[in-house]
């Protein structure tokens, strides 16, 4: 699932609710939650917080967010072995990842990027896009 047709206006429209949801999950002031905030490095999120955030976003926006799917979507049509080479994202994988996480500043992709460290790149905007993609998937007519 790509980022096509997700505009900044779309993101801005849902950001307040995403920010409030994340602030509730993280126990922080909502002012601290900006689009560019990295969940781990800026907001101090741990693995339990990721679960909390995902389940709260599902309830708030009435969507399902399959948790393994983000990496799968970032991979695109690359196979797992083409994307993940011994736990490190491959060169073609990195090109896909940067395109998929277009909201993440380029300087944050410090090579080599370990697959296990991909969540460290996620920002609040990443989750706005996740919600929008899932809303659109749910609204799309069945294939």
């Amino acid at each position: 699932m790509s980022n096509t047709n997700i505009t900044q206006e779309d993101i801005a429209a849902i950001f307040p609710k995403v920010a409030a949801t994340m602030a509730d999950a993280l126990g922080c002031d909502v002012e601290k939650v900006t689009l560019g905030s990295s969940l781990i490095d800026d907001l101090g999120a741990e693995s339990i917080d990721f679960l909390d955030i995902v389940f709260r976003l599902e309830r708030a926006f009435k969507v399902k967010i399959p948790r393994g799917k983000l990496i799968e979507d970032a991979r695109g049509d690359l196979s797992e072995s083409q994307f993940d080479q011994g736990g490190v994202v491959s060169e073609p994988g990195l090109v896909r990842l940067k395109a998929f996480l277009s909201e993440v500043p380029a300087e944050r992709f410090k090579t080599p990027v370990k697959v296990a460290d991909i969540p460290r790149l996620f920002t609040v905007e990443t989750f706005c896009k996740i919600v929008l993609r899932q809303q659109r998937a749910a609204a799309a007519p069945p294939a």
């Binding site: 126990g27 339990i48 909390d52 389940f55 948790r67 393994g68």
Partner: protein, 276 residues
Amino acid sequence: MDGHFRAFTFVDRITAVEPGRQIRGRYTIPAGVAEFPPSLVAEAIGQLAAWAAMAFLDFASRPVAGLAGRVQVHGGALPGQTLELAATLDEVGEDAVSYGGTAHADGRLLMQLEHCVGPMVPLADFDDPAALRERFALLCGAGAMPGGFPGLGPLPLELGEGEPGRTARADFTVPAAAPWFCDHFPRKPVFPGSLLLHVNLQLVAALAAELAPGRWNLREVTDVKLRAFMPPGERLHLQARLTVLAGDTAQLVVETRLRKRLIGGARVALTTEGER
């Protein structure tokens, strides 16, 4: 392994189960225990949900305490009562189970859990999969002999300096040894998250005693989050802070730290309305 399936087990019988979807069961509180606090009623519902999740995943993984969105307390459980337990699993995955549930006794609703999430861990790291499989079959069949829980025993808080009526602080040392470690869990003894909630609620009660006169009852606990396992012997720092006091309602935030790291938190609502 004397305490296994006895010392901290709160499901005696599973009366109906659709693995991964819903489950009903019961637990008889031993008549001889001094109390059966709300945190253990929540633990019982969580254990029931865990059986449904483990059976669905063929006992490869088990959930541990993680998140509880809302714990509504409608009444207290008494020694000798039989809890009728029910849980509905919204989702069971390799990483987590989400569920809600209820506990009734004598036809009366005692507790409702909503939006609970248990992160999954490899079952064999915590317990013997074969023993759990056998236990599940027993619970779904004739049921287990009730009466294994010996009671909590003392869990003393070392009260520290707080601001009267606003903040209460205490240190708590996880016991180095206790009967329930045999059960929680045999291969990796850790202080149960429900007992962390229990000691936090004891601190809340101490702070509530300083509030405007009234008999304060626990109404609900929300936003419960547990971030780390607590091995035996760890020293925890607890804080309860009043955030709202309005008429017959008080709201507090509780936090638990291990050294400087925040490892647990919850919001607590008290009321003076109604006897519990």
